[in-house]
């Protein structure tokens, strides 16, 4: 299929260098004599959003977009984004995935249970489903060759054997796009990625990476708030109302403080600790 051309999807989060990596692949294809189209969605990615770049090459390319189920490779710079991009893979095509996890604040919202919604680093299960998974800790490999920022070059090295482009074309466009003074480090990172063998080396890396915290699981213990109304000064004070991180408390026309969002209380005890009149008690199980 790669004789007539191919489709690659690159994904990651803002600041990881998805757009640069994609420009390097496009330029490599161009140097190798192919027609190329590339489309990325950036818009709001500067502020922590997803960045994805579709890349297609062939004798004559019409659409710049990779259709679902049609990617000849997906390159993911971040674990969760790699999982999200899975539907794009053509059956049997490789998922090249960095083991780095960028946990968005939105995944740490259930403060009561402390349970994170971020997906666990379950590499074996992923390999069972996808087949060809080429996972590595690209950040670690990049650090080993001396430039932590070259993680995208590592992943391009992993991609290279799958693509029908000569190595000279890769190295030339890599050098062309490397920021000043980093082209040697980028080349080393690329070669290190290219030399990785699957799955033995990468599974060992995944096991190591899985040790660091993520897939956070928690414990739910709903607390109970008790207001001793006689001791509360009401509107004159409002310290607890301002202190509660969950906006559980209010003094709206009432003489004493009221619990308006009991279900949101996490039992942090700030109200209890800060009340000058000992008018609130937090009971935890």
């Amino acid at each position: 299929m790669m004789k007539e051309g191919g489709s690659v999807l690159l994904v990651g989060v803002g600041g990881q260098g998805v757009v640069l990596a994609s420009a390097i692949v496009a330029e490599t294809a161009l140097r190798a004599g192919w027609d190329v189209k590339q489309s990325e969605v950036h818009g709001m990615s500067q502020r922590g959003g997803v960045v994805s770049s579709h890349l297609r090459f062939g004798q004559r390319v019409y659409s710049p977009l990779v259709e679902i189920g049609q990617a000849d490779a997906v390159v993911a710079m971040e674990w969760n984004e790699g999982l999200r991009a899975m539907p794009y893979l053509r059956r049997g095509a490789p998922l090249i995935i960095n083991l780095q996890r960028v946990i968005p604040p939105g995944a740490c919202r259930n403060r009561l249970s402390g349970e994170s919604t971020y997906p666990a680093l379950a590499l074996e299960a992923l390999a069972d489903q996808v087949g060809d998974v080429r996972a590595c800790d690209a950040g670690e490999i990049a650090r080993e060759v001396g430039s932590a920022k070259a993680l995208n070059a590592v992943l391009l090295g992993v991609l290279a054997p799958v693509m029908p482009f000569p190595e000279e074309a890769w190295l030339a466009s890599l050098a062309d796009h490397a920021p000043k003074g980093t082209s040697a480090a980028n080349e080393l990172a690329f070669l290190a990625g290219q030399a990785l063998r699957y799955p033995d080396e990468t599974h060992a890396q995944a096991a190591r990476a899985a040790l660091s915290p993520n897939g956070l699981h928690g414990q739910a213990r709903p607390p109970r708030l008790e207001v001793i109304e006689a001791w509360c000064k009401g509107r004159a004070c409002e310290i607890c109302v301002r202190a509660c991180p969950e906006w559980c408390l209010a003094i709206d026309g009432s003489a004493a403080v009221r619990v308006v969002r009991p279900e949101a209380c996490t039992g942090c005890r700030l109200c209890e600790l800060l009340c000058p009149d000992f008018a609130i008690e937090v009971h935890t199980a």
């Binding site: 420009a23 004599g33 027609d35 189209k37 709001m44 922590g48 004559r60 189920g69 999200r84």
Partner: protein, 613 residues
């Protein structure tokens, strides 16, 4: 000019050595085309997906032969460009789709006056709303105005059509709209460039009957416009931008813009009428095509713009019955439509299904100066009339401190209405960025001051137009070329408008900010508060000593997480069944705001840090 559709000419052969053509985005190609057509004046207001057009023009013009400006808003931008064209200089005005609403007053009547030198208006539409407040289809506005519409489908065409548009504009004495979509503006493709040049000026010519739109003059100009439309339709009939690609006669597809490319890949055998010059519609060409095929299907993004016009010709045409009228029309949706129409079979293999994952909505940056003011607004229970900019992200959890956002500059006028409605449940506060304030907030502030409306306006002055990537504006002290410019004294402007309560606060000082907002809300009239910290991302990256959490001191109240700072996440440690927090020292900018929320002073500057040079 290169023949339209020339992308097929730059056919590359794998393996062979080819001369290095340029790999350009659609926006870069438009700038390129404008320079090749000899543009002399370019204006516009930033807005995704159009912003890179003017930025590229500056890059392509180190010799400063073109006057380029970021205008105060799109209306001013179009006025500048129209004035330049009437003065005999080829001019370009670039904006996002909603920008054309702002410029519509000038736009509609410019179709009456005409232009003299070529005037190209670029409208970059955003089907799917990748970064917009609506997904209006500006083909409708263009038809309403009665001006010609060109729709490039890729970068090569973006360059070619721009060159063509200037020529067309001059020949027919009419502004020409070049409409892109996000996919055309931001997709990259190979472009065969031509030489850059500056067109000779044609000079100004006095002609009040043509240029002063008094009713008496305008009546005759309206007739000129209608006759011109007929001539333009004749031009469209034979324009190389419109073409029939005959294939299998069983199915004929009418399409335009980038959708053409998806259609070519999904139904490669079909006959296609491809409209690059899509308004006025070449009716004879459409009839010829319809007569040559057994079944006629229109595939177009958003409105049934072509479909309804073809139906009005009495043609049996299908379209929106199969293809959605909302959202981006990508390859998947077009495949589904063709399957529904019975044209192609369902794709064989089911795609892989992801395990449960998390979404990643955009968030305010670590250290963003917009954060603390919104935490304070939530604390005082304000009804917040929001506006458009980075700060709109304060509407989502955990800040969740914005109640309305509609259009650029609407915050202040809507706050007046909210205050006058008698229905507000708390103090009414309009929040507006500096760029947006100058864009369309000033007239509304004058209105609030004029009528002594009791409300507060919070101007979030971060010194830049951050949402679109950090462009300069009239109060930024710098131009699009990086030259020093006069600034605007915003507090003085507010006072001059008659606002009695004007205060400047440091948004990194949470207590000061909240106190000021409380006092402003208590003020029996119009009050204005202006924040004064720069955006941490543009024009310069602001990086100070990062903060860190003393884990033994953290009581896991997670108050700091109410800021939504992406540098703060849960750590692996627990306290009384709750997660302690940690700060990522790489992304933290050291704004100190989280430390101000911490009840146990567990957040401190990272020891041993020194400012990198």
């Amino acid at each position: 000019m290169t023949a339209p559709g020339a992308s097929s000419e730059v056919r590359a052969s794998p393996g062979a050595v080819t001369p290095r053509p340029l790999l350009l985005s659609g926006n870069e190609a438009i700038a390129r085309g404008a320079r090749e057509a000899g543009v002399r004046v370019a204006a516009g207001y930033p807005g995704t997906p159009s912003t890179e057009i003017l930025e590229t023009l500056v890059r392509l013009d180190p010799g400063r032969q073109v006057y380029v400006e970021w205008s105060t808003n799109e209306k001013v931008g179009l006025d500048v460009a129209l004035g330049a064209a009437i003065g005999g200089a080829r001019a370009l005005c670039a904006m996002k789709h909603v920008g054309l609403n702002v410029a519509a007053d000038t736009f509609m009547t410019s179709a009456y006056t005409g232009v003299r030198a070529g005037l190209v208006v670029v409208s970059a539409d955003d089907p799917g709303m990748h970064s917009s407040q609506n997904e209006q289809d500006n083909r409708v506005l263009v038809r309403f105005a009665g001006v010609p519409l060109l729709e490039p489908a890729d970068s090569q065409e973006a360059r070619d059509f721009t060159v063509h548009a200037f020529d067309l504009s001059e020949r027919f004495d009419v502004p020409v709209v070049l409409r892109t979509t996000t996919r055309v503006s931001h997709a990259r493709g190979i472009v065969a460039p031509g030489p850059l040049r500056v067109a000779p000026g044609l000079g100004f010519q006095r002609n009040p009957a043509k240029l002063v739109m008094l009713p008496g003059f305008a009546r005759s100009r309206h007739r000129v416009m209608l006759e011109r439309l007929e001539a333009l339709e004749r031009e469209a009939e034979t324009s190389p931008l419109n073409r029939i690609e005959w294939g299998d006669r069983a199915l004929g597809v009418v399409t335009s813009s980038i959708v053409y490319h998806y259609v070519r890949e999904l139904v490669p055998g079909a006959s296609v009428l491809r409209l690059g010059f899509s308004h006025p519609l070449p009716r004879a060409l459409a009839r010829e095509f319809a007569a040559g095929v057994e079944r006629l299907i229109v595939v177009e993004e958003l409105e049934p713009f072509l479909e309804e016009q073809l139906r009005a010709l009495g043609l049996a045409v299908e379209g929106k019955a199969y293809f959605p009228r909302d959202g981006e029309l990508g390859p998947e949706a077009i495949r589904r439509g063709f399957v529904r129409a019975g044209v192609i079979a369902e794709a064989g293999e089911k795609p892989l299904v992801s395990p449960p994952t998390v979404t990643r909505p955009p968030v305010l940056c670590p250290g963003c100066p917009h954060v603390a003011p919104y935490l304070a607004l939530r604390q005082i229970g304000a009804v917040v009339s929001g506006d458009i900019g980075c700060y709109t992200l304060a509407a989502i959890e955990p800040l969740a401190a914005m109640d309305t956002t509609v259009a650029m500059g609407s915050s202040i006028g809507m706050a007046i209405g909210l205050a006058r409605s008698g229905g507000a449940t708390g103090p009414v506060v309009a929040t507006i960025g500096d760029s947006t304030f100058l864009h369309a907030g000033l007239p509304a502030l004058a209105d609030a001051a004029y009528h002594r409306t009791r409300m507060t306006v919070l101007i979030l002055d971060n010194g830049t137009t951050a949402m679109t990537g950090g462009q300069a504006h009239p109060a930024a002290g710098v131009t699009i070329r990086g030259d020093a410019a006069p600034t605007i004294d915003l507090p003085a402007v507010c006072r001059a408008l008659g606002v009695e309560f004007v205060r400047v606060v440091d948004p990194y000082d949470l207590a000061q900010t909240q106190l000021a907002l409380e006092q402003a809300a208590a003020f029996p009239g119009l009050s204005v508060i202006i924040t004064n910290r720069p955006c941490v991302e543009a024009p310069v990256k602001v990086r100070d000593q990062p903060y860190t959490v003393l884990a033994e001191q953290c009581i896991a109240c997670q108050y700091c997480m109410n800021l939504g700072c992406p540098s703060i996440t849960w750590s692996a440690e627990w306290h009384e069944g709750r997660r302690k927090v940690q700060i990522d020292p790489v992304t933290c900018t050291g704004c100190t705001v989280c430390a101000q929320t911490c009840p146990t002073e567990a957040m401190v500057g990272l020891p041993g840090w020194s400012k990198p040079r």
